[in-house]
């Protein structure tokens, strides 16, 4: 029997990762380098938002306190979000955004695939939809990383800098804290440490083709899973939550 409170926390965590990255990617709307990229990043953001909605809706049902997806998405405080720090980092330049997309999409592709054998039927159903969407995200990011890595001296240099910046945020994605352990034991979640070798291999393959390599990292930044965030999340939430805070209960 799965503890409902733990399952609730677990679903929120998964939902927060998707929602916060969705919000970040939406910031590119109208600012991307080309029209096609504007559409691509907005579409990826939309996929992530849809996945977050499914997770929040289910989280609300599990919690049983009458909170719906909107209340969970818009009416929590900063320390109640447990997304990984990598998704709340500012977008930076296009190379930064694409680097994060590669790191994160490959991670979620492996994660959703592993969740296809979750004992929780709804988690399985959400994963089965998401995994097909994330395939497109992985390919989009990988193609750009190769293009930028092999592009001009400047695009290559920007990729090097972006890899430096985001590498220290990748360790947190595979952390097995108490909640992750318990959900793994209950058969709902997965052992994230098992995904890491495959992740490293796939990232190395793309970077190799791009003429880039993963920087050496001997220290990983962490904190998001316990609600300790960078200064950037608060600003993101101000914009994200504005309408619900200004007009409580507002609907379309």
């Amino acid at each position: 029997m799965v503890d409902n409170n733990l399952l609730f926390q677990y679903l929120l965590r998964l939902g927060d990762d998707q929602q916060i990255l969705s919000q970040r990617l939406s910031e590119w709307c109208g600012h991307a380098p080309t029209l096609e990229e504007d559409l691509a990043l907005a579409n990826i953001a939309l996929d992530l938002l849809g996945q977050a909605r499914s997770l929040y809706t289910y989280a609300g049902e599990v919690e049983g306190a009458g909170r719906d997806e909107d209340q969970l998405a818009f009416l929590r405080y900063e320390n109640e979000y447990t997304n990984a720090l990598i998704v709340e980092r500012p977008n930076g330049d296009f190379a930064h955004t694409i680097t994060r997309q590669l790191f994160y999409s490959v991670y979620m592709d492996l994660h959703w695939n592993a969740l296809l054998s979750s004992k929780d039927e709804t988690v399985r159903a959400i994963a089965a939809k998401a995994v097909k969407e994330v395939d497109y995200h992985v390919r989009h990011a990988a193609e750009w990383v190769i293009r930028l890595g092999q592009g001009t001296e400047e695009s290559h240099q920007r990729m090097v800098e972006a890899l430096e910046e985001f590498a220290i945020y990748t360790g947190e994605l595979f952390e097995m804290d108490d909640l992750a352990q318990q959900m793994f034991k209950a058969g709902v979640g997965v052992d994230l440490t098992l995904l890491r070798p495959e992740w490293e291999q796939q990232i190395a393959a793309v970077l190799g083709e791009a003429g880039l390599r993963m920087p050496e990292v001997n220290w990983m930044q962490t904190g998001g899973r316990s609600g300790e965030h960078t200064e950037h999340l608060g600003h993101l939430l101000c914009e994200l939550q504005y309408m619900q805070r200004a007009y409580p209960g507002m609907t379309w």
């Binding site: 096609e36 990229e37 559409l39 691509a40 907005a42 579409n43 990826i44 939309l46 996929d47 992530l48 938002l49 849809g50 996945q51 909605r53 499914s54 039927e121 709804t122 399985r124 159903a125 959400i126 089965a128 939809k129 998401a130 097909k132 969407e133 395939d135 497109y136 390919r139 989009h140």
Partner: protein, 174 residues
């Protein structure tokens, strides 16, 4: 006597199910109105509850497809208009929607509308990774190239024909 009654009731329910299906199936997709929700495979099933309440099951294409809510509302309105005010529409996520569920008729309607229909066998990585060629919906040429895998709606990709030089949408595999 009892079994005869049950038979009558189940026949009634079958008639309801069929009428509700026909009403729901005719609802056009809000983004590509030449195809219906039945053509797209979004309308999964119609069930009739023991008390006679019809329930239509619909499934979203992409997790974040903004048309999902509108489709649900329009399907419900169509069923109610057909004489079933108590009907409900429910969303199901599993099994996940795939472009393989597009009907042959739906594919032809897409092509005639100028959207290249998806390759079949979309669950295979080969189709997903764009290794198959997409024929131009305008001139039929197989000499086409992908511009972007993301287009004006979640289900479309942007292509260009190298023969007639026309750009076109491709209903991409999922």
């Amino acid at each position: 006597m009892v079994s005869a009654m049950a038979e009558v009731r189940s026949l009634d329910h079958e008639a309801i199910r069929r009428q509700v299906w026909e009403a729901a199936a005719a609802v056009p997709d809000p983004e590509i109105p030449v195809v219906t929700v039945a053509d797209l495979g979004i309308l999964r099933e119609v069930r009739v509850e023991p008390d006679g309440t019809p329930v239509a099951l619909v499934t979203p294409t992409y997790s974040g497809c903004p048309a999902t809510r509108m489709i649900e509302e329009e399907v419900l309105a169509a069923i109610q208009l057909a004489g079933f005010p108590q009907a409900r529409v429910e969303t199901v996520l599993s099994p996940p929607w795939t472009t393989d569920w597009l009907s042959a008729e739906g594919r032809e309607k897409l092509r005639a509308y100028g959207i290249a229909p998806p390759q079949t066998g979309s669950n295979s990585k080969r189709a997903l990774f764009g290794k198959t060629s997409v024929a131009c919906p305008h001139c039929g040429s197989a000499e086409t190239e992908r511009v972007s895998e993301f287009g004006s709606t979640p289900c479309k990709a942007l292509y260009r024909c190298l023969s007639c030089r026309e750009p076109f949408d491709y209903f991409k595999c999922l």
